[in-house]
């Protein structure tokens, strides 16, 4: 039943034996010990399971692991140092419980790649698929703006 998939995970070539029904989040957690992408709503509506597949943010709880062969997967754990987005989230206090944070960090990076200087309205719309029950939304908006500034400086 299991098939082998080979893919790039945070810059390293890896392989995994996956069942047809297994999601990418399950495989990341069970086989690679990466817990930053996490299942919450299970319907692709909250953004907690966000990972980048070939540079595009996807809901890892809906992404079948079997289809990840030859793809490039990036999770929030990638990199050994904090990037400007993560620094800005810390400085702005843009999280409380932290459960949704990895997904929002990854979406913010994608937003700033597409639009280096988003206004508040653009930020709200771009991140509208990420839910935060602690409702740190105002702080997140400030963090995104701060991250944009930091990225423009570097």
């Amino acid at each position: 039943m299991r098939s082998e998939v080979q893919f790039q995970l945070n810059g390293e070539p890896v392989s995994a034996q996956v069942a047809p029904h297994e999601s990418l989040v399950e495989v990341l957690q069970e086989q690679f010990g990466l817990y930053g992408a996490r299942e919450s709503c299970g319907q692709g509506l909250c953004g907690c399971c966000t990972v980048l597949v070939d540079g595009v943010a996807v809901s890892g709880c809906l992404q079948l692991a079997a289809l990840i062969n030859k793809k490039n997967v990036v999770t929030v754990e990638a990199g050994l140092t904090l990037d400007p987005v993560q620094e800005a989230f810390i400085e702005s206090g843009a999280f409380q419980c932290g459960f949704c944070t990895p997904g929002i960090v990854l979406m913010t990076r994608q937003l700033l790649d597409e639009n280096p200087d988003p206004d508040e309205d653009a930020i709200r719309h771009y991140l509208s698929g990420n839910l935060c029950r602690c409702a740190a939304y105002p702080e997140i908006i400030k963090a995104v703006q701060l991250a944009a500034q930091k990225r423009r400086k570097t």
């Binding site: 919450s40 909250c46 754990e77 993560q86 419980c97 459960f99 105002p138």
Partner: protein
């Protein structure tokens, strides 16, 4: 005081330092029970009742048992082989670990499948079938008072609360608590009043939806049990599991890392008893992680009905108030009876009223259980009394701010219970709210199809009492400090603020202080992380423990002939001849409390009061009924903030959460008690697009003299006034009065049409 080496050169309390666990959270490496996997672990998946009320005739698990990969299927009868009386709960021992004779709501756990692959366990639950003899059910809290459908054959109060004793063994009732308060002579006062107003309000059932759904793991050895759980109340879990098993408390260990949100959902026993028994049955580690859908069948917020009546004299003073509140507790009491009483006594609001009658009823119904949700019942009460206040001001033709100001409960005046108000900045909160809302300036009401309105509301809350917190603070041989406390950081920032308190006392940077997460083998007893109590109770305990450690260090200095400025490492080196040793400061904090008498009166109802005011400016689209909040003002008395940034986040986050309960969140049940919208696809919580255009948060200059460095709790305060402020603003905008939550476009539009 002169500072030791490694000393902090700035005060630690009052600094907006980033959370200590920031790096862990932005890199996805924070520890949650969600992440935990143990070798040989089984996953449990729950088979649930599909009827609201019924006697269990038969549960057929044979097909599930036969499925390849299924380790075991467990029903209530199997549970009883380990625990003959498997009933738990903080107020009533009414909730079975798995349903036994009856099921009492749709979604109640009936059986569990265990398998090493959670998908197999899940698939097997679909092969279980159960037969029920259906019984009449009751869903409405007011009907439950007189309904012939009786949810529990016999009431079983836990016995720990004196005010529940009279309910022991009662039959043929759904009433789980009838709190009563009588002050003065309301009947006479109503007769003498110039005007009498009476209104009725309702709130809907909603759910906490923490994004980390409820999750627990248990592992047993020969004679011990370790429970890793996303819980706000590790000490309670230990006591309750030990009680259920008949074990000594020291055989049960409860560990709690970070929580992915709590909001009151993760209190008392949720999955802990179930995973414990399953681990004891199988002798393997067992994990149960609920899905988002299953959370809706586990714990919710009380729906409620509130009838409120006020008598006003010719001068505009409220002289009498009658409050009747019905709390829809669902099928199991959970903490509902405490909500009924501990919040019930504040039902007359922050007003100085001579004659008061309160009846507050906790009721069983055939719906998912209700507990505490960010406010412990207070938002339901403020919704009613502040809508009522606004309606009275309108009828009387007086300004709503001035009407409140005239009747406000001021410092030194007795609240309805007779407890005198201290350190409750009601006047400052109302005055700042008026100022930040520019209340005296004319307001543009809009024209055409979009009308604008504004409204305010003020609420207050008594911190739940009688409760206890213990803490220990260790100072290591190098001078570094470790805090041991069972307060759970579920996002409110307690690790950081506790470290700030220790840093302030011991003059070390808060960032250098390590806070050990709840582990009942290590961290001392704490009542629970709930009701905005931790900053006050645990903050005081931690401060006292740090002071105790400091005293012990100073004692060592004296003993060793070292000066008062001597560095901590020097003390230990001199004492032990090497880098060795440590001191441990300990403390317990249990503020005084007087239980209410038969009339609900007490001179000491609470150790502190929280005061929150909300102002709202909004637009109503008269063609669609859609409400858009353009400006939201949160003003609160939080004492003196330990970390102003965290305080602001708590105020703003609480208000936005309450905005969901105000404008759209609602659990929808059909006439069979079946929940229709148990998913985030159909039950919408606030997102980025629901934010008000502008949010202003202000903590008024205040001090809680009995709090640690003047601080007190803040987690719930901004939930109090939001819903009525919105209703009052909608009334201002389009002249309609909504008396039921949520105020979604359908409700607004329908009401406008029926004018």
């Amino acid at each position: 005081m002169k500072r030791a080496t490694q000393a902090a050169e700035t005060p630690q309390v009052g600094r907006s330092i980033p959370r200590l666990e920031s790096w862990l959270k932005v890199t996805g490496r924070a520890e949650y029970v969600h992440n935990l996997r143990l070798p040989g672990m089984l996953y449990g998946k729950i088979f649930r009742s599909n009827v609201a009320h019924g006697r269990i005739k038969n549960i057929d698990v044979s097909a599930a048992r036969a499925l390849a990969g299924v380790y075991r299927v467990v029903t209530g009868k199997d549970i009883q082989e380990v625990i003959p009386e498997p009933f738990y709960g903080p107020a009533f021992h009414d909730q079975p670990i798995l349903a036994l004779d009856k099921v009492r709501y749709v979604g109640e756990p009936v059986a569990v499948v265990l398998a090493s692959d959670p998908h197999v366990a899940e698939a097997a639950t679909h092969l279980i079938s159960a037969e029920y003899e259906e019984l009449p059910a009751v869903y409405d809290e007011v009907e439950a008072m007189t309904s012939k459908a009786i949810v529990h054959d016999v009431l079983k109060p836990a016995g720990t609360f004196p005010d529940l004793k009279h309910l022991q063994g009662k039959k043929n009732t759904n009433l789980a608590l009838d709190f009563r308060l009588r002050r003065g002579n309301p009947d006479k006062a109503f007769k003498a009043a110039a005007r009498v107003f009476e209104h009725r309000f309702r709130t809907q059932q909603v759910m906490h939806t923490p994004l980390e759904p409820l999750v627990s793991v248990a592992e047993c050895t020969e004679d011990t049990l370790t429970i890793h759980t996303a819980s706000q109340s590790p000490s309670f879990v230990r006591i309750e599991i030990a009680r259920l098993l008949g074990w000594a408390e020291n055989r049960v260990r409860v560990r709690v890392p970070f929580l992915g949100g709590g909001f009151g959902a993760k209190l008392y026993i949720k999955l802990e008893a179930l995973v414990s028994v399953l681990s004891l049955i199988t002798r393997k580690p067992v994990k149960i992680a609920l899905t988002m859908e299953e959370q809706f069948f586990t714990i919710t917020k009380h729906a409620s009905t509130f009838r409120i009546k006020s008598g006003v004299d010719a001068g505009g003073r409220i002289v009498a108030r009658e409050c009747e509140v019905w709390w829809n507790g669902g099928a199991y009491a959970d903490i509902g009876p405490r909500v009924t009483q501990k919040s019930g006594f504040t039902a007359p609001g922050p007003y100085d009223i001579e004659h008061v009658a309160i009846d507050s009823y906790a009721l069983y119904t055939n719906l998912p259980p209700a507990g505490a949700l960010r406010g412990f019942g207070i938002p339901q009460l403020v919704w009613a009394y502040e809508s009522h206040t606004d309606l009275m001001a309108r009828e009387l033709g007086v300004d709503p701010v001035a009407f409140r100001r005239q009747n406000l409960l001021k410092e030194g005046r007795p609240q309805a219970t007779g407890t005198v108000m201290h350190d409750a900045a009601t006047e400052k909160v109302l005055d700042r709210l008026g100022a930040l809302m520019d209340w005296k300036k004319p307001f543009d009401q809009g024209k055409g199809t979009v009308r604008r309105g504004r409204g305010i509301a003020v609420g207050f809350k008594a911190c739940i009492s009688n409760t206890t917190s213990l803490a220990a603070v260790g100072v290591n041989a190098d001078g570094s400090c470790t805090v041991y406390c069972s307060t759970v950081d579920m996002g409110q920032g307690s690790d950081t603020t506790m470290a700030q308190i220790v840093g302030e006392v011991l003059r070390v940077p808060a960032e250098s202080v390590r806070v050990v997460h709840s582990d009942t083998d290590v961290t001392p007893f704490d009542m629970a992380t709930l009701g905005s109590r931790s900053m006050f109770h645990m903050g005081n305990a931690v401060k006292l423990a740090a002071e105790d450690a400091l005293q012990k260090i100073n004692h060592l200095r004296k003993e060793l002939g070292l000066g008062p400025d001597s560095a901590v490492p020097e003390i230990f080196r001199k004492k032990y001849g090497m880098r060795a040793g440590s001191v441990m400061g300990t403390a317990s904090f249990n503020p005084p409390y007087t239980p209410p008498d038969a009339n609900g009166l007490t001179d000491n109802a609470t150790p502190f009061w929280m005061v929150g005011g909300t102002g709202v400016e909004l637009e109503v689209d008269t063609e669609t009924g859609r409400v858009r909040i353009t400006r939201l003002v949160n003003v609160a008395d939080v004492g003196t903030p330990v970390n102003p940034k965290i305080v602001e986040s708590q105020l703003s986050g609480a208000a936005i959460m309450q905005l969901g309960f105000t404008l759209f969140e609602k659990m929808l049940f059909d006439d069979q008690g079946q929940l229709r919208n148990a998913s985030l696809a159909e039950y919408k919580i606030p997102g980025f697009l629901d934010l008000p255009d502008e949010i202003v948060n202000e903590a008024v200059a205040a001090e809680q003299k009995s709090g640690p460095f003047g601080a007190k709790g803040v987690g719930e305060t901004a939930t109090f006034g939001l819903s009525p402020a919105v209703a009052n603003a909608i009334h201002d905008a389009v002249g309609i009065r909504l008396t039921e939550l949520p105020m979604n476009p359908e409700a607004v539009f329908t009401k406008m049409q029926s004018r």
